[in-house]
Amino acid sequence: MTDAALGASFRDPSGFVFEHDGVVYRQVNRTYAEDYDHLMNSGLYAELVENGLLLAHAEVTSPRSRMDEDDSHYKTLEPEQITFVSYPFEWCFSQLQDAALATLRIAQAALRYDMVLKDASAYNVQFLCGRPVFIDTLSFERHKEGAPWVAYRQFCQHFLAPLALAAHRDVRLLQLFRVYMDGVPLDLARSLLPIRAWLNPHLLLHIRIHANYQRRYEGDTDSASKIRPMRKQALQNLLTALASATKKLRWKAEGTEWADYYDGDSYDECASDHKRQVVGEFIDAIVPSEIWDLGANTGEYSRIAASRGIDTKAFDVDPACVDRNYVAVREAGETQLLPLLLDLTNPSPSIGWALAERDSIAERSSADAVMALALIHHIAISNNVPLRRIAEFFASLAEHLIIEFVPKSDAKVAILLSTREDIFPDYSENGFESAFGEVYVIESRIPVEGSERTLYRMRRRATSSA
């Protein structure tokens, strides 16, 4: 097998993405040749890449994909390689909003070069070096005079509707992306949004009336004759209106359980200093190239890795924490840290056609090390997962593990146990070490000074590699 088309790459007749010897390439088909040439020769590609909005690529002569059965090959591109893709249901509000604005800026730039952005899918945006970057080179086509924006509906479903739902109803509704791969259906958004949302003329137009128009003209065989030709200025106006609609939506990251965690009292300063120091030493001993911090909160400990130049993903279940973390990354221009939303008790599954369009979080892991600080009690006690199973899951993600054990005597665990029966006889330091010891070799064990917690550095046993 020399190559394989990637699972998500089958919808677009303009070309496809394939993998060869571990490198991802993109084939441009002959049918797309003129659009591709216009993208490259008009100056649009150069402008977008210069502004960090589009993934750069190089044209290469080989390899040719075996998927190219009908000889439709025009060019092979070797894009800048992306080691990890995240999905919109793993983004916080601000990430989705920034991805939306980036998409609109690209569409506006395209129009200046007489092209249109034909896809406004959130899946076409990835966060690279802390910024949203559009990755689908084949999403541009030459503008046809009078044509409306073909991606308008997609933009509303992928960006405006979920952002409006988060801002006006509940931020957890961003998770609708997990069910609706092509964004939130507008009639669903219409029925979920509160009445006050319709006081916003943008939402009234782009969601409510939009949904009504969809309903009114669906199945209307004569609808094509009702589409009015749009001048280029009208398209610009449309994009400006969408940008203004997107920017006006606000969600404030506060009031959730964890967003104010570090303002609380779980660690005294001395213990926290020692914990930071030990985590740093553990990271230096492992020298990972990529690290996943699970239960990262607002990324305080993730930054110990990121500041060493290590590619770091900071996962947390709390949308407010992820949002705060992302905003901090954006404001400081941090490039090594990517905050993402993840519920460890129900992690991102594989979804889409044949379950192969979007990979599960475990399939996407290229991390060398997993960090699980102040997390184990939430999984073992709040969610009743046996310690051995926790070890196995972590081991399936990465070879190395930095983990903190929080004993029952800890104030935080006492809170978890205060309203429930203690059915966790094995939840002790000994039980923890013996359960994890079956899956990992414990390489280092350091009690955190001034607390009852212990930090461990472990390495997956060769036989238990998942």
Binding site: Y152, S191, Y217, T240
Partner: protein, 117 residues
């Protein structure tokens, strides 16, 4: 106390401080005429459809293309957006005429990055 007197008093008070800050905007909250007009205009098609689709949440038919409505709506959206821009521009002019113009508040600055237009 008139607004002018209040403003003068604030100025006197402010002059005693070392750091000079902007006086508070004592005029009634600036109402963007364009936004109000757009709001009103946007409701028209909603009202015209009140009898039908507003209450509808039924399932979709299997053979329909949800794209047509999106294409048809765009002309309306673009017209309203264009009108809002024009009205805002005129409104700003009128305000300047009466000396009430303030430096345009950069409402859109948030989220923009260098290179934004």
């Amino acid at each position: 106390m008139t607004l002018e007197a209040e403003r003068r008093e604030w100025h006197n008070h402010a002059s005693m401080r070392t750091k000079k800050t902007r006086p508070p905007d004592l005029t009634p909250r600036r109402l963007s005429f364009g936004v109000v007009a757009l709001c009103a205009a946007a409701w028209l098609p909603a009202v015209s459809q009140a009898a039908g689709p507003l209450a509808d949440t039924g399932p979709r038919l299997a053979y329909v293309d949800p794209g047509s409505g999106s294409f048809i709506l765009q002309a309306l959206v673009a017209t309203l957006a264009g009108a809002a821009v024009a009205i805002n521009a005129y409104w700003a002019k009128i305000k300047r005429l009466f000396g009430r113009g303030t430096p345009e508040e950069d409402d859109d600055a948030r989220g923009n990055t260098p290179g934004d237009d």
